[in-house]
Amino acid sequence: MSTVLSRESSADDTGPRSDRGSPDGSGAVSARSRRLLRERLRYPLRSRSTVRRLQILSGTAILALLGLCATSIVGLTQARDGVHTIGHGAGPQVVETANLYYALSDMDAQVANILVIGDQHELGDGREAALETYDQRRTEANEALLEASQLSADDPTEQRTVQELLDGLATYDQLRAEAILLSEQADHPPGELPEEVRETYDEAADLMRLELLPKAYNLALDRGSLVRTTYEEKHTWVLVSAIVAAVAGIVAVAALIRLQIFLRRRFRRRLSPFLVAATVGTAIMTVGISGFLLSEARHLQSAKEDGFDSVLALARARAMATVNHADQSRYLLNPDQATSYEQRFLENSQAIVDVPIGGEDGSAAGTLEEYRESLAEGVANLEEEDVDQELRGLLGDEVGASELEGHDTAILTVLQNYTALQSSDETMRAMAERGNTHGAIQFLVSSGGGEGTYAFNQFDTALAEGLTELHQQAFDDAIARGESGLTAWTVASPAVTLLLAGLVVAAARSRMAEYR
């Protein structure tokens, strides 16, 4: 017994000195501290500094635990806000607004279809189907606008854009009804639009192209910026909280270990079970909460980058392709403006998939023909050698943009279908240029293998159901993973840290009781 005691006292002899010894290590101070130490060893239970030391160490541990608790609450709250905004608030709203753009462009495409087939009501998918699709899109557009109207209540600029869209849409509806009625009355053959029908339709189409579509697009961009800023803010907060929680946890564990050692030396106790429990609990809690917050940051990132960003880009690409589909009909409807429509088709095509054409010095903007060659080459390279040479634009940028399983195959399928769509457009234009307008119209609206509408539908399906579905799933999964465990941790984290703090208090109090 005496050997143990003497060993313990000699161990204690070095402890405080290394702790409290003055940096210059002057002989006077060290002599004084040795004297104090001897006194304290002789009358350990009377020393006031022991109580203070006990208070400081347990106080540090408790403060660090409270810090851990507070940080975890901050981190969890930010994670909850982020997951909620991106998963259920602004995120789906952006996609909804992007779908508004699609609904509008498809409405316009259906009207162009109805007018281009004229009195041949059964041509292609037929007039009835086009009218039905139009009504369906009109309802979708209305619903999206009503929702947008509620969401933009606190932003007067956005609110006004929504109002202008609602008004514009009503005007568009009137104009298209008038154009369809006039066309019906004229009972004209495919492609041979009477002047007054064309004028009315041009007015509707211009309203759509110059006012409605840009506003709908800008609205989606505006919402997108809300998602971006929310994501950046929340992601940073969650990461910072994870780090701060780890630091607080480490400080708490260090203080608890130090306290344990201190008690063992000063009070000659082996181990305090309360402290052991508190130390182990704190270590587990720290690893748990920091790890959980880090994984929340990852889920937010995955929802944003693998899910949201891609879904939005693909929705934009789909809407633009639909505008292009309508421009194909307009190209046939309005020979006077054929050059403008063709140019717009090229520019929209480049926004969807951009490939290098024209002169580098700006001497040439490139032609549709060059575009198709360059596109076919780029997609073939991707197909054969898996190299993304110079595909850019909304879909081009998606190549290699995600490591999701199945993404590479799905984007390649979309691009192959897009190339096929471009070839079918080439066939259609060649017919029209030879003067075979009727043949070109028949080809454009037919949904049989290889023909215009078929090619468009194939592309649209690969885009909307294949690739978009994949990223939508990734988005939903990431949000679900981000939500799971959030509530449990939010309840557990304060409860556990308070319990741990209670253990420390209990351990310290039972020692301090010896002073009373």
Binding site: Q78, P214, Y217, N218, D222, R344, E360, A364
Partner: protein, 273 residues
């Protein structure tokens, strides 16, 4: 609220400790007290330097946007830019924003960011008022077309559209219109409609726009690529400029005397970042 007040100092401490100050915040045109803006100095009605000051549609648009960003007109420093210097001026930080008939293209987007466009101009054709034959670019077959030196607008018609026309070059578009076209040496001049309209002020009734645009030239606001918040703020200002009727007024003021079809609804934005 409580979590915010608690969390902010924590994060600030941590950010300060790792050396990441809020540079992104202060480096944005959103929240700036003063701005340096690049404009054209030789385009009548768009950006023209006269007696040390700049005037034109783009100067007015820039002033409006700056005002919406909270910058007083007195706190704007104007810089006249050559077309070739626009990217460097932005990249080197010599200017904060550029409003200088700056078409948004994929190539340029590799170097600089674009807010807007604030207007979509089109390559169009200008003919003499009495010429009623030309209705489309294809009607230029067999004509003489004037283009300014260094411009490719006529080349595009001949080479890309396959139109068999003869190209004539003058020093600038002003000479093309007010000399070559007015005197009948050429039948048509073609470039961005706003640029053409700018040279028409002296005698707008003598000429006619064909109004058959065959390209979209989206005039964007050049901005630092990384300044996404600034880009979004500029877009918001442009939306407001159209909503409150300022855009329509400015277009009317600078180009209203011509018979150009002016679009007074906000253009489709390129999107930031």
């Amino acid at each position: 609220m409580r979590t915010r007040t608690l969390a902010l100092p924590l994060a600030m401490t941590l950010l300060a400790a790792t050396g990441c100050t809020a540079v992104a915040e202060t480096g944005s045109v959103a929240g700036a007290n003063s701005l340096t803006i690049g404009v054209k100095y030789d385009q009548p009605q768009l950006g023209l330097e006269t007696g040390g000051s700049f005037e034109g549609f783009e100067v007015d648009v820039a002033t409006y946007v700056a005002d919406r960003l909270g910058v007083d007109p007195d706190d704007i420093t104007w810089v006249g830019l050559d077309s070739a210097d626009r990217e460097d001026a932005i990249r080197n930080g010599d200017v904060d924003l550029v409003f200088a008939t700056y078409s948004i293209t994929q190539e340029r987007k590799a170097d600089v960011g674009f807010a807007g466009p604030y207007y979509v101009a089109h390559q169009d054709i200008l003919v003499n008022a009495e010429n009623t034959e030309v209705e489309d670019v294809t009607d230029l077959e067999g004509t003489r077309i004037c283009q300014a030196q260094g411009s490719h607008s006529g080349t595009r018609i001949v080479e890309e559209r396959g139109i068999d026309a003869e190209l004539v070059e003058e020093d600038n578009f002003g000479d093309c219109i007010n000399t070559a076209l007015a005197e009948g040496q050429v039948q048509a001049v073609s470039t961005d409609d706003l640029i053409l309209a700018g040279f028409l002020e002296e005698n707008p009734e003598a000429f006619r726009f064909v109004n058959a645009p065959f390209t979209d030239e989206r005039y964007g606001v050049g901005i630092d690529r990384d300044d996404i918040a600034g880009c979004e703020a500029v877009n918001k200002a442009i939306t407001q400029m159209y909503q409150d009727g300022t855009a329509a007024e400015l277009l009317q003021e600078w180009f209203g005397a011509t018979d150009l079809d002016l679009v007074t609804s906000v253009p489709q934005f390129e999107g930031c970042g």
